[in-house]
């Protein structure tokens, strides 16, 4: 088997394909790091402008996450400015009005490079593993030897996986070191621990697509059919399933968009001010706290009805998107980079609870100092054993299953 791995390595190292694909990977990673760091730096600048003084308690803003250079995720959302007041929380829209180029064109961060390009490279490196050899006529020779079919296929898989993953992991390591040396990025244990998990996950992800390419290759006879089928599956798994999953879930879930809810929130506040004013016109004693309680009740009601709906929607979306390993990988990597959905939910919940504890003090209905908001992020251990676990298991299962299928297909393959 080691002979086969060696043969695969040497054979492919001599092709244009390896150098073109590795060059592409290098260019894209370079662009991704430059662009994402620029974006992160901009957010840090904004944060420094917006950061309230130490004594201010009615404004909350979290610093941008350095790991968002690798996976931007929802970091721009998490880092928005929350202004707390008697009327509830006002969330500022995006920090910087990004020019509306087009919704397709998101920031090409490392997550994007891995999710789209590493998968493409894996498929392109593996599509001719079996049928290409058959076209050349060497497959018969190879199987005539003493090695069984399963070791032959495993050797091919391993060889091609190394060709895809080794250049990637070297570039990834260099990128991580470069990023950790940049200003505004503190690369401690936390940074390296999280990046290590991301690197392992991307290994499993690349293995999935190498196995997929090999599976397709051992199902068809011609390599031109194999490349077509492989690329079709790549489009399906990387673009179609994750995108449609989100849109379909929104369509089925029938949950109103959050901006509409925010607007409804405003309307409810205005309505309760108006009503209380009408009541107070005739009252002898003017009790302004009434207005505030009324507004608060309206807000709480809106939040409590909206929240479970949104949770259901998120659950549904995750289930649909995870059909593709690309979806599972995106969830895992954003959670590891602290820019995922669960992180966002945690931030919003903590702010909500903070307001709940201090509501009366904000409105000066009760004496006393408003406590300072302190965000306690979920620790690395909690994340690994919690939110990241289902995706990690999926990423382990998919390549294993695909390798099994590929061996099965190769056993029945006609080498003539």
């Amino acid at each position: 088997m080691t002979d086969i791995v060696k043969k695969e390595l040497l054979e492919n190292l001599a092709t244009y394909r390896f150098y073109v694909l590795t060059g592409l990977m290098f260019t894209l990673m370079l662009i991704s790091i430059i662009v994402s760091y620029g974006d992160y730096h901009l957010r840090v600048e904004n944060y420094n402008v917006l950061r309230p003084a130490a004594h201010v308690t009615d404004k909350i803003i979290l610093p941008p996450e350095p790991l968002s250079i690798f996976a931007k995720g929802l970091d721009a959302n998490v880092g928005r400015l929350y202004e707390l007041g008697a009327l509830g929380v006002q969330v500022q829209p995006n920090q910087q009005s990004i020019n509306r180029l087009s919704s397709l064109f998101s920031i090409p961060d490392m997550l994007f490079v891995i999710k789209v390009v590493l998968a493409l490279i894996a498929v392109l490196s593996a599509f001719d593993a079996v049928c290409g050899e058959k076209e050349q006529g060497t497959l018969k020779l190879m199987l005539a030897g003493r090695t069984g079919r399963a070791p032959v296929l495993l050797g091919k898989l391993a060889g091609r996986f190394i060709l895809v993953f080794l250049p990637f992991i070297i570039l990834f390591l260099i990128a991580s070191i470069v990023v950790s040396l940049l200003p505004d990025v503190a690369g401690g244990t936390e940074y390296w621990r999280r990046l290590a998990v991301i690197a392992c996950a991307s290994g499993l992800y690349a293995a999935s697509f190498v196995a997929l390419g090999t599976l397709v290759s051992s199902l068809v006879n011609r390599s031109s059919t194999s490349v077509m089928l492989g690329l079709a599956l790549w489009v399906l798994l990387v673009f179609v399933v994750p995108n449609l999953g989100v849109t379909v879930a929104q369509s089925i879930g029938d949950v109103p968009p959050s901006d509409r809810v925010e607007m409804q929130n405003r309307l409810a506040s205005i309505h309760s001010i108006y009503e209380t004013q009408q009541v107070m016109k005739n009252a002898r004693e003017k009790d302004y706290s009434r207005i505030m309680f009324q507004i608060r009740e309206a807000n709480v009601h809106l939040f409590e009805t909206y929240r479970p709906q949104l949770d259901r929607l998120i659950g549904l979306t995750k289930a649909l998107v995870r059909i593709s390993p690309s979806g599972a990988f995106a969830f895992l990597m954003t959670e590891m980079a602290n820019t995922g959905i669960e992180r966002d939910i945690q931030v919003k919940d903590e702010i909500w609870m903070y307001i709940d504890r201090n509501f009366k003090k904000f409105g000066k209905l009760e004496k006393g100092e408003v406590e300072h908001f302190q965000f306690r992020p979920a620790s690395f251990g909690e994340q690994v054993s919690g939110v990241a676990l289902p995706d990690a298991l999926l990423l382990l299962f998919v390549p294993a299953a695909l390798i099994g299928l590929a061996i099965g297909a190769f056993m029945r393959y006609d080498p003539r």
């Binding site: 600048e45 020019n99 509306r100 397709l104 031109s224 929607l313």
Partner: protein
């Protein structure tokens, strides 16, 4: 010639590849139809509800303006989901977007499966996959020599190959579009307008021009490079640059090129400087009042009101110029991204369907025109107009030993009959206007075609067929 075209088309159509493409395209277009019909229904209900609620409460302080949901959004959605849902219009033309986040901000933002996405990403990839081995493949299998030894010339061979690729692409594209159109028009019959049909037909032609350039590109490289897998690799790299890298980096590059500070750093710098400006004016008036130069309360109010109004005006014009700068930067980004034909196609499709940046500009123009009507109405009712910037000022000044509160003037609500309140209605976009806007970008696509076609012919002519 026709026989060879027929043979080529049959070769493609009978292959497994074609079946996969057809199925994928049908699924995508069906999903597109269902999703957009559903979303349009939701948006239309919400829009009419909001407009009715708005009309019941006409206000002279400020009103809200909403763009109508775009009927052709299924062709090119153009990021309208991330655009503000509407604008508040104050007196004296102060227009502010309503606060919005993305739709459901916790969910990942994904490109919508609109026609433009399906065509620019997925069909362009398939154009490459169908055409990459057209020449190089024939050569590898040794049939190219045979073909060229017959009466068929090289030019004709290339034309035959090109026509076959385009027909093979057009079949799934047309089937998909028809499926999407039927789905949309069955679910929401009221969108069946002439604009609906003309928009779809124009998009089909635009898509053909766009895909044709990928066909020419593939034929060019296929006759230039003799190894078909190397052709495919090169094409995929070019494809990644066109559809992903150039459009993605244009935004960031334009940010580097045009050095505009962020909204918040502006607010932070602007606040103190404007305050200083206003308070120095008020300080002078305060001094005059203390010296007894301003005698009555009315005179003081008149002069301070004027000072405040000037301050507000300079704030408003500052914000306006900032917005202009941001828009300028967006224009730079668009220009940079036009290096890629994918961006050209996207912008042309947006113009044809009446979505995207030109639609926003048109809406804002109409909103400004309406703001004049609105101001005239308010002037007729209350007799004065007050522009506010979102900043408010107030203090006390002693006149004749009595403390008088002065503050920046606020717009007033007219308490009388407001049944003649002017209504805002967005003018539907004339189809000709959209085509005119799309002209430049389409011309760019045609230019790409011409250049690549010439290169392909040149390469086939000089190609060594042995």
């Amino acid at each position: 010639m026709t026989t060879i075209i027929r043979k080529e088309i049959l070769d493609h159509v009978e292959s497994l590849q074609f079946l996969i493409l057809l199925l994928l395209s049908l699924v995508l277009f069906l999903a597109n139809g269902l999703l957009f019909a559903d979303r349009y229904e939701q948006q239309a209900t919400w829009y009419s509800k909001t407009i009715t609620a708005l009309r019941e409460k006409p206000s002279t302080i400020s009103t809200e303006l909403y763009p109508e949901p775009a009927q052709l959004a299924f062709i090119a959605e153009a990021g309208d989901n991330q655009a503000p849902a509407g604008y508040t219009l104050g007196q004296m033309g102060v227009l502010r977007p309503l606060p919005t986040g993305p739709r459901n901000f916790r969910l990942p933002v994904v490109p919508d499966p609109d026609w433009s996405f399906i065509i620019k990403v997925i069909f362009s990839l398939y154009a490459i996959l169908i055409a990459y081995d057209a020449i190089a493949g024939e050569k590898e299998s040794g049939t190219l020599r045979q073909l060229l030894s017959g009466p068929l010339g090289r030019t004709r061979l290339l034309i035959a190959k090109y026509v076959a690729v385009m027909v093979t692409l057009a079949i799934p594209l047309l089937c998909g579009m028809v499926v999407s159109l039927i789905t949309v028009s069955v679910s929401v019959p009221r969108v069946l307008t002439p604009a609906f049909l003309s928009g779809s037909i124009l998009t089909f032609f635009l898509a053909s021009v766009y895909l044709s350039l990928f066909a020419f590109l593939s034929l060019f490289l296929s006759s230039l490079i003799h190894n078909s897998s190397l052709v495919l690799l090169t094409l995929l790299v070019v494809w990644i640059f066109f559809t992903i890298i150039i459009p993605n980096t244009a935004g960031i590059l334009s940010e580097e090129v045009s050095d505009i500070p962020s909204e918040f750093s502006i607010a932070k710098e602007l606040g103190p400087s404007i305050q200083k400006q206003i308070w120095s004016k008020i300080g002078i008036l305060r001094g005059m009042a203390e010296k007894g130069e301003i005698k009555t309360e009315e005179e003081l109010k008149r002069r301070t009101d004027q000072a405040f109004a000037e301050g507000q005006q300079s704030l408003i014009s500052y914000y306006d110029s900032y917005e202009k700068a941001i828009r300028g930067r967006a224009a730079v980004a668009r220009t940079l991204s036009r290096l890629s034909p994918t961006a050209l196609f996207e912008y042309a499709a947006e113009d044809i369907t009446g979505t995207g940046i030109h639609r926003e500009e048109r809406f804002l123009r109409e909103a400004r025109a309406y703001s004049e009507v609105y101001d005239r109405y308010i002037l007729g009712k209350t007799g004065k107009l007050v522009g506010t910037s979102g900043w408010a000022f107030g203090t006390f000044i002693d006149v004749n030993g009595k403390g008088v509160f002065i503050g920046s003037p606020r717009p007033e609500e007219y308490s009388g009959d407001k049944s003649d309140f002017p209504r805002f209605a967005e003018r539907p976009q004339p189809a000709a206007e959209g085509i005119q806007e799309a002209l430049m970008d389409s011309a760019g696509l045609i230019l790409w075609n011409v250049v690549l076609a010439m290169l392909a012919f040149g390469a086939v002519m000089r190609s060594d067929v042995r």
